[in-house]
């Protein structure tokens, strides 16, 4: 027995063990590379903000441009130096609103179905399909809008009512694009509601419908709101679909059947043309980019605030 014990302790090279601090190189290496990876993403963000800010500043410093007119002007006509963001912003809001009209109700329905009603088999079948929907290149969605949805709308509402390029069609297809995003984040939020709350509901003689809609949904509200806000910021920033299907040329209208260029669509068109680098047109797209960046940033901050503010509700 005694021998055995000696043998075991000999197997550790413990004779010279001191309490002195040691350097562990592999730990430092891993820590360092993780830090670098994080650092690069922050560096990229900072670089984007810097470029956007610098070029936008150049734009606002031009004598032709006034910030007040930029924010309230109703015409965007760079060739005669009119830079009013409203026509572009309105159509961005219009396509976003149409998209959310599709994505929120459908996305939530899908989320509730997947999380509460679908059997495991059905869920395992449907979720990958939903993810494929999110993985289709947006240019494909754009041409789907232009060559399928638009003719359909023109068939239903009449060719005089619906223009070939229109914000409604782009918005509808954008809604389909964003649906999986909202569905998937909302489903996570629903699935995170503890089983004990559902049991409490059933234990009180509640039906499945009452448990799902009066206990689980309210308890998951913070996650669902965050999903919706992320969806909105995705819609605001979406580019290819609107560039292809929503129309070229700023147009101040709230009619979803008319063509109107969004902020992103305008940036694509202008930067695709042959602009000289120091023209005012060129600088103007950076101002638009800055507005886009700030609005999605604001929405992200709001969504984080909502999640944090209501997170502990059921813990």
């Amino acid at each position: 027995m005694k021998n055995n014990e000696n043998k075991l302790s000999d197997s550790f090279s413990r004779q010279n063990t001191t309490l002195k601090k040691r350097r562990r190189w592999s730990e430092s290496l891993i820590q360092g590379s993780l830090f670098l990876a994080g650092f690069f993403s922050i560096l990229t963000t900072a670089g984007i903000i810097f470029t956007l800010g610098k070029e936008a500043l150049l734009f606002f410093q031009k004598p032709e441009v006034k910030l007040f007119e930029f924010l309230t002007g109703t015409a965007w006509q760079p060739h005669i130096n009119q830079f009013g963001i409203l026509p572009l912003a309105t159509s961005t809001l219009l396509t976003t609103a149409v998209a959310m009209l599709i994505a929120i109700p459908l996305g939530l329905t899908v989320a509730v179905f997947l999380s509460e009603y679908a059997s495991r088999k059905v869920r395992n079948f449907l979720k990958p399909i939903l993810e494929v929907l999110a993985g289709i290149p947006t240019i494909v969605y754009g041409y789907f809008a232009l060559t399928f949805i638009t003719p359909l709308l023109r068939e239903i509402f009449g060719k005089d009512v619906v223009n070939i390029y229109n914000t409604g069609s782009a918005g509808l297809v954008m809604g389909i694009l964003i649906l999986p995003l909202i569905a998937s984040i909302s489903e996570d939020a629903l699935a995170a509601v503890p089983r004990s709350l559902r049991e409490a509901g059933y234990g009180l003689g509640a039906t499945k419908f009452e448990v799902v809609f009066k206990i689980v949904l309210p308890a998951a509200l913070s996650g669902i709101s965050a999903a919706i806000i992320l969806g909105i910021s995705r819609a605001i920033g979406e580019t290819m679909i609107v560039a292809v299907a929503a129309g070229a040329g700023p147009n101040l209208t709230l009619n979803p059947f008319k063509g109107a260029e969004t902020m992103t669509g305008h940036i694509v068109r202008i930067s695709g043309g042959d602009l000289s680098y120091d023209s005012i047109d060129y600088d103007s797209i950076f101002a638009l980019g800055l507005v886009l960046f700030l609005s999605t940033l604001l929405l992200n901050i709001i969504s984080q605030w909502i999640v944090k503010r209501f997170r502990e509700v059921y813990e």
């Binding site: 503890p194 004990s196 709350l197 559902r198 049991e199 409490a200 509901g201 059933y202 234990g203 009180l204 003689g205 509640a206 039906t207 009452e210 009066k214 206990i215 309210p218 308890a219 502990e312 509700v313 059921y314 813990e315």
Partner: protein
């Protein structure tokens, strides 16, 4: 025990999860307006048996039962019985306090509202909270979130929530196991005051709790050589604890088990 004092009665009850038989051959009669405790080692099917009384096991899709549970002259598992109605009349309090993330008031009023309660909700909330011995502590903060209460208060709120729809039986699944001794004592006092009007069935790990708080005791244990639990002894509590009829019960309640 007189036959008309019995509120729940099992006949050759077997409970399965898929192919696994968790509980086998249970034949007991739960007396009305008494506290019945179910005791026994971990994993012998106490909670499973308890959850069979209000068909909560059905939330696990693979579960099914054989045999009968008679309640109010009717087999709870007959084809024409609605589990929602069963749970309306046989309420439940869970192991960990699980109040809804809503206000204290709303927790009590919620079930009454979904069952179409016609009277004054304010009155109902007040009388129910008084019954649950919680009113004095919460009467000024009814609009606050139930999650701001302490664990013990939350559990009494869960009892109140169950009482609000006036069930006939209240099932309690180790209701004090997550609470400190003082909060535990309050739950036990509450149980004593409730048994005038309600039948209580409680699963507990705590021998002293079963001994001091319950009128009847069901002792459960695994059937030798299997993984299925069954009730090996069912009698008045003081008999089970002082003159047990089964050697295994004696070993268990005196702590000489295993």
């Amino acid at each position: 025990m007189l036959q008309n004092d019995v509120i729940l009665e099992t006949h050759d009850l077997k409970i399965y999860y898929g192919d696994f038989k968790a509980v086998t051959d249970v034949n007991i009669q739960i007396p009305q307006k008494r506290i019945t405790s179910i005791i026994g080692p971990s994993g012998c099917g106490k909670s499973t048996l308890l959850r069979a009384f209000n068909r909560m096991n059905e939330l696990v899709p693979s579960s099914h039962i054989e045999g009968e549970i008679i309640f109010d002259g009717k087999n709870l598992y007959d084809r024409d019985v609605d589990p929602v109605q069963v749970r309306y009349r046989i309420g439940m309090v869970f192991q960990r306090p699980n109040p809804f993330p809503k206000s204290i008031y709303e927790n009590v009023a919620w079930a009454a509202r979904i069952h179409g309660y016609k009277g004054s909700l304010d009155e109902l909330v007040e009388t129910t909270l008084i019954k649950a011995a919680l009113w004095d502590e919460v009467k000024d903060i009814l609009k606050q979130s139930a999650l701001s209460l302490s664990g013990g208060q939350q559990q009494r709120l869960c009892v109140a929530r169950a009482l609000a729809i006036q069930p006939e039986v209240i099932l309690m699944d180790e209701p004090a196991s997550a609470l400190d001794p003082i909060a535990t004592l309050k739950i036990e006092e509450l149980m004593q005051s409730l048994k005038e009007n309600y039948t209580i069935v409680i699963v507990t790990h705590n021998m002293q709790q079963a001994a001091r708080a319950s009128d009847y005791t069901a002792m459960m244990m695994l059937v030798e050589g299997t993984r299925s639990g069954t009730v090996i002894e069912f009698d008045e509590t003081n008999k089970v604890f002082t003159r047990p009829g089964d050697k295994r019960t004696e070993d268990y309640v005196t702590g000489r088990f295993g």
